[in-house]
Structure formats: structure tokens, C-alpha cells
């Protein structure tokens, strides 16, 4: 066994940006003025923002040091459940930085931006092929924005049917963004509990579904990492009452090339390009949250739409039934370039293989850890599995403690305390880009922590020990917010 990646080392201190600067220093060069100065009327002018003046060296040292306090996918294993932190290929950065993409103005006349329009059009077609859906919009900027777009499509559909509805069914395992997105459309979320097997039961949905209900939002595979086995029957129940099925595609990484979203009864699904399609998460975005719909909902998709006309492309905004515009321009094009590069590098076989190996990795971790950790639902899982701290509770060691202790071993912690239906949840999603030996190291670290919980619980409760800072006082941060310096 190799030693765990966690170690002690040199951690540099670095002050706040404005503690470094000296007035008069300069970190960037400006072009020489080749036009005469033309002063603006004084009463319109202010002082200008009080930014620190730094040299280029100050700037580079500052942010380089900050970067060393971060943990990214390139640093190591990142088993964050429902976040699909797979490897972000380096070639993507090269492609997005191409001048013809990075420097392109969004309002270029169509004949001058054929390359960008073609890329959007082809990516939409690729995503339709991957999901089995009929039409795609790349406008939404992130997953929650895609959810909002999807809810707006439901809302527009019902308005077009002549009768708006007031409620939406959302399982108790859903991401918090689901109810928040539905609420923006004025829909009141109605919770449905998952059954004893961890999946939705048709009878429970049938009991709630009526003609006041706009539809259901379902994550499949769900956040317990389980495939919703009754999805077709549930979709039929929802459709019978005139409702629509919205799928949260955050967990698509489990089922590419395996499941046909249209066949299972989905009307709208959003995807996360920054999860399944390997675009970097950037420390919290930018993401991209395209929505894919069945043919009957295409008229409601956001504008503008990229339209093919012979071998030319243009943007179309005149769509009377559209939910409207979702963002300033055409969505996160820079992120689309990366997702397109990924799909074109993987091909159909590669994507299916990625899903198979993601599921293999999750089951491998699950089997290896279930001796030491309580497994909430002991069933074959998809791309992630959910444990809890039930077996560590007698030693007064919590999920949070173990998550923090994992950092000392050199791993990013899993998603914790989610889904809410599992008390003290530890949600592990390894993704397909982790090798067996890295998984073995992680398993060994988790087993060592389980052992520590029994023999030296204090050490676990006080973790992490080796990080730049130790546990932070979040209560005071929220009670007396200090949000700027």
C-alpha cells in the first residue's frame, strides 16, 4: 500500500490584497494614448475606486500563494456526491482560449460568427442524442438556472393549455434548488417521501397527483444513488392528470448510453455540463445547465434559438410561445466549447464506458466500506452511494468529524448531511476518472478513520490538524457578518 497523499509541508502565509500594495505601483501596462484627452464634465466624475496598487510580482505571488491553500480535482480525489467531480481535460482550456471563440463578440452579425453558431447547434444535437430528447437549449447558465428554465417551460405549457396549476410534487431526496426553482414560478412544492427501498412508489405519487399539480420534479438516478425503478409508471400517473415530468439530470453521469430519458417518460431534463461533461467547476462556477425537451415543448424553449438554414446558421428570437430570454446573451459559450470538446473526444462508446466505470467505482467503494460504515440502503448503487455515521455515533464521532479527518489523509471529503432523508449522510461519488489504486487509498483512509473513531475519537473530533486553517467559527461569521475588508 502506498502512503496516503496527506502530509505536512510548507504552507506560506499571505496577507490580504490591500495589505500588500503601495500607492504608485503598477501591475499592468496601458497602451499609449494616440488620441487627445477629452475630459468628462467634472460634476459627473468621482474619485474612482480605491483599489490597491500592486506590482505584477505582488499580484502573482499573492494569488499563487492563495491557490496553494485550495484543493482541486488536479490535486486529488474529490468524492463529492451529486457533484461529479471528474477530471477536467487540459485540452478544453486550449480550445476555449482560441481567439475565434474567446474574443468573439456575442452580437456579431450571423455571417461573421458561423463557427460559434455551428458549435452551439452541434452541441445541442449531441445532447439530444445522449438523452434521447428532441430539442435542447444551451441558454441556462447553471443547473439551478436550467431548473428554472424547465419550470418556466412547465408554467408556459400549462398557461398555453388554458389553465395554470398551483402545485408541484418534489421527492424528499431532491436538491434544495428544486423547490427554490419551482417557487420562482409560483408553484407550491408538495413533498413526496421515498419508499423503504429508497425509491419513489407509484401509489405515493398517485395520492398527491391531481389536476392542480403542474407535474413532478424527479432526480434519476436519485440522490441516494438509486435508479428510480418505477419511473415509467410514475410518469404515466403524472401524464394521466395532465402533468409533466421534469427530470433533474445532475446524476446523468450514471446512465449515458444506458437509459433513454424520453422512453422513461421525461418531458424536460436539465443537464450540468460542469458535472457530466467534465467542464471545470471553477471553485463555484461558471457552469452550464442546458435543458432538453420532448418535441411538444420545443416552442416554449428560451430565445434566442440557433437555427440551421442549409449550411448556414442564424439566431432566431421571434418565438411567440417562448418563455423568453434567460441571460444577457447566449448562455455560457466558453463552457459549451469545453463540453463539446469532451463529447467529441469521447464519442458514444467512450461516454457509455464512462458511465459504466463510474458505476463500477461507486459499487467498489460501497462494497469495501460497508463493513465499517452503515450503508443506508444496501442495494446495488449507480454512480454514488450513501453511508451514515450510525456506527460511529456511540463514540460521539460525527459525519462532520470524519469528513474533516479525511483532509488530513489528503482527500476532499464527500458530500455530507445530504440527502436529508439519511441522518448524518456521507455521500460518495468517485466518478470514472479515479483509478483502482486511488480508490484503494481512499478506502484505506476511511477504514483508518473508522478505527480512529473507536480508539482515538478525540483526534477525529479535532480534525483537521494539517490544513492551512483548522475548523472555523461559522456561527460568529453568520451572527456578525464581516463581508468586506
Amino acid at each position: 500500500m502506498n502512503p496516503s497523499p496527506g502530509t505536512t509541508g510548507l504552507i506560506l502565509n499571505e496577507p490580504l490584497l490591500w495589505e500588500r500594495g503601495r500607492p504608485g505601483r503598477r501591475g499592468a501596462s496601458l497602451p499609449a494614448a494616440d488620441v487627445p484627452p477629452s475630459p468628462l464634465e467634472t460634476e459627473l466624475c468621482g474619485e474612482g475606486p480605491d483599489f490597491p496598487d500592486l506590482s505584477e510580482v505582488d499580484l502573482v505571488r499573492h494569488f499563487t500563494r492563495l491557490s496553494t491553500w485550495n484543493y482541486g480535482v488536479d490535486t486529488g480525489f474529490y468524492p463529492l456526491g451529486s457533484c461529479t467531480m471528474k477530471y477536467n481535460p487540459k485540452t478544453h482550456e486550449r480550445q476555449a482560449a482560441l481567439k475565434g471563440f474567446a474574443a468573439a463578440h456575442p452580437l456579431l452579425p450571423a455571417p461573421l460568427c458561423q463557427g460559434a453558431l455551428r458549435l452551439i447547434w452541434e452541441l445541442e444535437n449531441d445532447l439530444a442524442a445522449i438523452t434521447g430528447m428532441d430539442a435542447v437549449s444551451l441558454q441556462p447558465a447553471a443547473g439551478a438556472h436550467g431548473e428554472l428554465a424547465g419550470m418556466l417551460v412547465l408554467h408556459a405549457h400549462h398557461a398555453h393549455q388554458g389553465r395554470q396549476r398551483s402545485k408541484i410534487v418534489i421527492p424528499d431526496t431532491a436538491h434544495g434548488t428544486n423547490p427554490a426553482s419551482a417557487a420562482l414560478c409560483g408553484y407550491r412544492p408538495v413533498a413526496v417521501a421515498s419508499g423503504p427501498e429508497g425509491v419513489l412508489e407509484p401509489a405515493a405519487v398517485e395520492a398527491l397527483m391531481d389536476e392542480e399539480t403542474a407535474g413532478i420534479m424527479v432526480t434519476n438516478p436519485n440522490t441516494l444513488g438509486l435508479f428510480e425503478t418505477h419511473i415509467r409508471e410514475i410518469a404515466a400517473i403524472v401524464h394521466a392528470k395532465g402533468g409533466l415530468v421534469y427530470a433533474d439530470g445532475a446524476n446523468l453521469n450514471a446512465v449515458m448510453g444506458i437509459v433513454d430519458m424520453a422512453a422513461i417518460g421525461v418531458d424536460v431534463i436539465h443537464l450540468n455540463l460542469h458535472k457530466t461533461f467534465s467542464t471545470p467547476h471553477g471553485g463555484g462556477g461558471p457552469g452550464s445547465g442546458p435543458i432538453c425537451v420532448r418535441r411538444h415543448l420545443e416552442p416554449f424553449l428560451p430565445v434566442p434559438r440557433v437555427v440551421q438554414d442549409g449550411d448556414r446558421f442564424h439566431l432566431e428570437t421571434d418565438r411567440p410561445l417562448s418563455i423568453g430570454r434567460m441571460g444577457s446573451f447566449h448562455g455560457h459559450f466558453g463552457v459549451m466549447v469545453k463540453a463539446y470538446s469532451y463529447i467529441r473526444s469521447m464519442g458514444a462508446e467512450g461516454l457509455r464506458r464512462a458511465s459504466e466505470l463510474a458505476v463500477l467505482n461507486a459499487n467498489y467503494v460501497k462494497e469495501n466500506l460497508k463493513k465499517d460504515f452503515h450503508l443506508a440502503y444496501d442495494r446495488p448503487c449507480m454512480h454514488e452511494c450513501v453511508f451514515s455515521d450510525e456506527r460511529q455515533a456511540p463514540f460521539k464521532v460525527t459525519t462532520l468529524d470524519m469528513a474533516k479527518r479525511l483532509m488530513d489523509y489528503g482527500f476532499h471529503p464527500p458530500t455530507i448531511y445530504f440527502p436529508l432523508v439519511v441522518h448524518g449522510a456521507i455521500m460518495i461519488e468517485p466518478t470514472e476518472t479515479e483509478s483502482k489504486e486511488d480508490l484503494d487509498l481512499f478506502v484505506a483512509a476511511m477504514q483508518a478513520i473508522a478505527e480512529e473513531a473507536r480508539t482515538d475519537p478525540e483526534k477525529v473530533r479535532n480534525a483537521p490538524h494539517r490544513t492551512k486553517v483548522r475548523r472555523l467559527d461559522e456561527v460568529t461569521a453568520a451572527r456578525k457578518p464581516c463581508l468586506i475588508g
Binding site: 503598477r26 497602451p31 468628462l40 477536467n88 447558465a141 417557487a183 444577457s328 446573451f329 466505470l357
Partner: protein, 443 residues
């Protein structure tokens, strides 16, 4: 595939641990009726070499400088980006990290975003700023929803000189819940006509943009007075953050909420996204703010550190009662912005803003000198409207074929401005290019 590390032997070993024989058996819980029966219809995979060729070919079919001369602004601006910003933002410790939910190993992102919030406040004049929104349009829509929550009123007044796309996004966000948007007309000098504000009554917000869509600098203090008189909040937007290197900041003019686009702060235009939604307000409103916030605190040994804070406003805690549904935002864009603002510094940022103003002023004067009418008298920043008159469309198209984009036609969004174009010149426009444009449009 080079991203998939498993050898066949490892797969066998792992399948044995999982208790199945074949990879396909892992999907036994997926009912047959849910399965796909044919492979996904995708093009054959490309090698890294072939991908480069494919992407080079696509990128070559887009008009960019220096071959093309693009005098377009309208919410997306051409500014020079120092190599240091690209190099630092490209560090994979920043780029490949998740949202900093685990602060002990995310202090780099957290401190940088705290620094971003601070410099964003210094730019906008606000007391707090969020960690980022998707773009200027969604930031403005969220600001209007915030004003609706704060005032418990259901109508907002939005100037017609707010970017047309931003107004459309506001409509997308506000209409399903039944909120009403009234539009404020503009005056002959190119600023918003506020006279209707007092008559409308029951307004949650008055929304202006400065510099506005015509590039004109609005009288925000007058806007604030009008909003106060109506019991509404003043929401001010912007598409060109660099303008505040020169102009009085919006909060100092009485803005209650400031919401704008930060693309100019070190982000490539990238065909319109990702951008950076900037949103700030007073400390008193902080608990109504949508979006993430980073706060300063201490660790158990008393050392300074940073955490995501005030999460009880957010969807993962508050669910349907959250102040917004936003989750993943544009954190890496905020990171680029703080690097850019720090690279420029107070001195450089002001000089750069002045240079932008001078370039556009030069072009405006030269066009006026060549006999073109400048319809709006109000001072502008780095873009402005020119009336080229009826029949200019053919010249515009001819120039376009030659790789010159002589501004954005305004008639599609403002039917009353037939023949008028919005032109932009930033620090990247050389005098010879400005002279060439004047010559070409004046033939």
C-alpha cells in the same frame, strides 16, 4: 481513452468485489423498459490532434481582431487582459475546485472571493456585494425580485434605456409570479424620463442603467429622488463596469441596490458568456440578498480564515423560501475580476477608464465632424449613438463583408431610431482604425 484509467484486469477485480460478472450487470436495477436499445448517435471520437484541427477550423469562422474591426459594445466590451490574469486564473487549484463548502481546504478561493467582494464594493460604492451571479441581466432580475420582497409591492418601473436583453430577462423572471413591469420612456437628451415615476404609485423599484444602453450617463441622483418620492427602491444597473473608474459610483448617488455586468474586468467576451453578475447593496439589506457570500472569521486557534456565510438565505437550507434558487454561480469569473482590478490598481483603472472615454469621444467628434448627427447630447462613456440616416443598411452590410462591423443597428429594439447605430471604442481601438471607420461610413 486517456481519461479512463482502468485496465481490464482491474475491471475484473473490481467486478468481483461488486459481486457481478460483467459491467452490464451493474445496471440490473434499470428496468428493461427504461433502456436505450441503440447506441447514441454521435460522431466518432477524435484524437487530441484531430480535435485541435476541428476546433481551429470552427474558431477560424468567427470575425475577431485584428483581422476584423468590430465596433460593438452593447454589453460586451473588448479590453486588454494582462497575461498574469490568465496565468493566475488558469491555476488548476482554482479552476478544478468545487464550491468552497469545506473551508479548511478552500481558503484560496474563499480569501480571493472576500477580496473580490471588497473591491466590488469599492467599485459600486455599496456596503456589501455578493460572491457573483451569472451575468448582468440575471443580477438585475434578482435585484428587482429583492426589491419586491423588501417593499412587499408587486410592480417595478424599468427604464427603456436599460439593455433590451436585460429587460427581457427581467420579464422572464418576474412575469410567471405575476409581477408587473412598467417601462419608463427616454428624453431627447438620451436619459430616462422619470416624470411617470410619481404617477405610477405602488412601485417596488425604479431601475436605471448608467451608462445606459445609448452610452449616456444617467442622473442617478435624480433617479434616487424620484424613487424615494414613490416609496420605491432605486436599482441601478450597468453593462460597462470600467465606467466607474471615472464616474461617481452608483451607491453614492443614492442607489439602494446595484446590479451589473463585470465582463470588462478581465473576462474574455467569449461570444457572450460566461460573464460576471455583480450585485451589491447596503449592510441593512444583507439578509435579503440573493446569492453566496463569503465572510471573515477565525479558526479554533484564533487564526484569520474565511467561510461561506449567511447560508440560511440559500436554497440548500431554506429550500422554497430561499432568497434565490442560485447554487453554482460564476465564482471563477469573480476570481478573474479581482485579479484584474488588482492588476490595474487605483491608478491604472482610472487611467484606463479615461483612455476609453477619450477614444470614444474622439470617434464621436470625428463622426460629427464628418457630418453625421449625434442624436443624444448627454455625455457618454465608451459608446454612443450615431444617426447614419436611412439607407445606411447597405453600407453597413458592405463594410461587414470587408470585416468591419460599424456598430449595432438600434431599430430592432427601438423602432423610433431607424438609421441609428450604437458604436463602441475601447482602449484597444487604434486611432488609425477609428479614422478608417469614419472614412468608410462617410463615403
Amino acid at each position: 481513452m486517456r481519461y479512463l484509467p482502468h485496465t481490464s484486469q482491474e475491471i475484473e477485480e473490481m467486478l468481483a468485489v461488486a459481486g457481478v460478472n460483467r459491467l452490464a450487470d451493474l445496471f440490473a436495477t434499470v428496468p428493461e423498459s427504461c433502456r436505450r436499445h441503440s447506441p447514441m448517435d454521435l460522431p466518432a471520437p477524435l484524437s487530441e490532434w484531430a480535435l485541435n484541427e476541428r476546433m481551429d477550423a470552427l474558431a477560424a469562422r468567427t470575425a475577431v481582431a485584428p483581422e476584423a474591426k468590430v465596433f460593438l459594445g452593447a454589453g460586451s466590451y473588448d479590453h486588454f487582459i494582462p497575461a498574469a490574469v490568465d496565468a493566475l486564473a488558469g491555476r488548476s487549484e482554482f479552476l478544478t475546485a468545487y464550491t468552497p463548502y469545506q473551508p479548511e481546504i478552500s481558503q484560496g478561493t474563499l480569501q480571493a472571493i472576500y477580496e473580490y467582494q471588497t473591491l466590488a464594493c469599492r467599485l459600486m460604492g455599496t456596503e456589501v456585494a455578493t460572491a457573483s451571479h451569472y451575468d448582468g441581466a440575471t443580477a438585475l432580475a434578482e435585484a428587482l425580485l429583492m426589491a419586491i420582497r423588501k417593499t412587499e409591492r408587486r410592480r417595478v418601473a424599468v427604464s427603456r434605456l436599460v439593455h433590451p436583453h436585460y429587460r427581457q430577462v427581467a420579464a422572464t423572471y418576474l412575469r410567471p409570479a405575476g409581477y408587473e413591469i412598467v417601462e419608463l420612456p427616454y428624453r431627447p437628451d438620451g436619459t430616462t424620463d422619470l416624470s411617470a415615476v410619481g404617477r405610477e404609485g405602488d412601485l417596488a423599484a425604479v431601475a436605471l442603467q448608467s451608462p445606459n444602453f445609448f452610452g449616456c450617463i444617467e442622473d442617478l441622483a435624480a433617479g434616487a429622488a424620484a424613487a424615494r418620492g414613490a416609496g420605491a427602491m432605486l436599482v441601478t444597473g450597468f453593462t460597462e463596469a470600467l465606467a466607474y473608474g471615472l464616474l461617481k459610483n452608483p451607491a453614492s448617488q443614492g442607489a439602494d441596490i446595484v446590479a451589473g455586468e463585470g465582463q470588462s474586468l478581465g473576462l474574455p467576451r467569449s461570444f457572450g458568456g460566461p460573464g460576471l453578475g455583480m450585485l451589491g447593496t447596503r449592510q441593512a439589506h444583507v439578509r435579503s440578498l440573493p446569492g453566496r457570500l463569503v465572510g471573515k472569521t477565525v479558526d479554533q486557534e484564533g487564526r484569520q480564515g474565511f467561510v461561506l456565510t449567511l447560508a440560511t438565505r440559500e436554497q440548500h437550507i431554506r429550500r422554497e423560501r430561499a432568497t434565490s434558487n442560485i447554487c453554482t454561480n460564476n465564482s471563477h469569473c469573480a476570481l478573474r475580476a479581482v485579479m484584474y482590478m488588482a492588476a490595474m490598481g487605483k491608478t491604472g483603472f482610472r487611467e484606463l477608464a479615461a483612455l476609453n472615454h477619450d477614444k470614444a469621444a474622439y470617434l464621436k467628434q470625428a463622426l460629427a465632424g464628418a457630418g453625421h448627427r449625434i442624436p443624444f447630447a448627454r455625455p457618454t462613456f465608451n459608446e454612443f449613438v450615431v444617426d447614419f440616416g436611412a439607407g445606411f443598411e447597405a453600407i453597413h452590410r458592405r463594410l461587414q463583408d470587408a470585416g468591419i462591423v460599424a456598430g449595432l443597428p438600434l431599430a430592432p429594439d427601438y423602432p423610433d431610431l431607424e438609421g441609428c447605430y450604437l458604436l463602441c471604442a475601447t482602449e484597444t481601438a487604434k486611432r488609425q482604425d477609428l479614422d478608417l471607420l469614419v472614412k468608410e461610413v462617410s463615403q
